[in-house]
Symmetry: C2
Subunit: 220 residues, 2 copies
DNA sequence: TAAAATATTTAGACTAACCTAAAAATAATT
DNA sequence: AATTATTTTTAGGTTAGTCTAAATATTTTA
């Protein structure tokens, strides 16, 4: 049974939505995530259900089957490994790699991705701090927390970003925020929940609540 | 104007056929090269002509326009650079990389291929000895000759293979023939035009006429 | 709980890229 | 040069993946 690029993209979208909300994934959420008409989604859900990649009940939303989950996981592994390659080996910035990885993840070839993984030294996180499942589909978990939840005086190492959009990432570059830096929360302004932080013991910056909510750190 | 993967594949096929025979490229040659029905080729030729990528005269065959030629050259550049990457960096054998490169060459992104080229150190030849056009589309030419044309006593350095099929390449691996080795032609048997050669001053092997015709060397 | 609002599916249509079979043009041969 | 053979195109059809508009389910709200 062959699987098309379009089908792969739906599986990935369903996986990502299911990750956040733990109810069944609804047609409209998928349509929104993929920028397609709801009717197109319905069509595709029927096809995916016929291939036993999702469980689909009319009007009730969908859930990935074990096989669907396995394929989505492989896809995410491929996407993130290619992102590591693009940043680490080709020197792209972290805000430039998404569209390329989106294409590269669909290249078919069992051996390719494992050789790439090996070439890259089996990285466990991508350039945005997202975990990369291993060849058996196992995830690495970390105890991270949003900067918006730190208390004044608490420190953390920046391990991830929740928003991957270019403007956000470029803003972080500009104020000197990158994965691995140490953040010390100095003060929170009650009025707008913005926070003052010290970066790696040097510069100080103010982050809006929205920015602070999009930064993950490991405490301490 | 967007260009699809299918269109790219036709352009590349036309380029490669035109390279060998210097008349106009006929519908049936394309159909044969691409394993498609002639009627499908006619369809596509109309589309490519509308996009000004080929000059098409009914029943008379086609020719690439300047733009079509440019695109085909970029495609070959991409294919061969990816092949170098797969062999040099990921450790694939030279007979394993064609299908992967066939997919990778369609990944879109101006910066990608130039960064890859840079990462690989601007290689001028791929793992089969085929030239890689540079970023401006310029080719490197070499004065190579088929082993079948060497005279007894003549030497050459193996610089390319004409047949890229897996069985042929694996046969070469098996008898110790690889790019860069020195070949000394010891003797040609008149009866079947097979040749006896010495490889890098060590082992001796007999090559059939067909094999000798598929090996390129630079004399001396 | 009935009406209104929202979400989902169905119906019908489109495009790219293929196909087979038949028709038409070109090339080869007697 | 006329017939035969070959090549190419046209005609008509298929599938995947999309769309809009209309119909139908479900959920929310008054």
């Amino acid at each position: 049974m062959t699987i098309t690029t379009a089908e792969e993209n739906y599986l990935k979208a369903i996986f990502k939505i299911a990750e956040k909300e733990d109810k069944a994934v609804l047609t409209n959420s998928i349509a929104a995530a993929m920028n397609t008409a709801a009717a197109s989604v319905t069509d595709m859900l029927k096809r995916l259900a016929e291939k036993h990649l999702i469980k689909y009940e009319k009007y009730r939303g969908v859930e990935l089957t074990e096989e669907g989950n396995r394929l989505a996981t492989i896809l995410i592994r491929k996407h993130r490994l290619w992102e590591v390659f693009l940043v680490e080996k080709l020197g792209f910035a972290w805000d430039e790699v998404h569209d390329l990885a989106e294409q590269l993840e669909h290249v078919q070839g069992e051996a390719l991705i494992d050789r790439l993984d090996n070439f890259l030294g089996h990285p466990r996180f991508d350039p945005h701090g997202d975990p990369i499942p291993d060849a058996q589909g196992r995830w690495t978990f970390r105890q991270q927390v949003r900067v918006s939840l730190l208390q004044p005086g608490e420190k953390g190492i920046l391990t991830g970003v929740d928003d991957h959009a270019t403007p956000f990432l470029q803003y972080l570059d500009q104020i000197g925020v990158a994965l691995g830096i140490e953040l010390l929360l100095l003060h929170r302004t009650e009025y707008d929940q913005s926070v003052q932080v010290r970066i790696s013991g040097k510069t100080e910056v103010t982050l809006s609540e929205k920015v602070a909510q999009n930064l993950f750190v490991i405490r301490g």
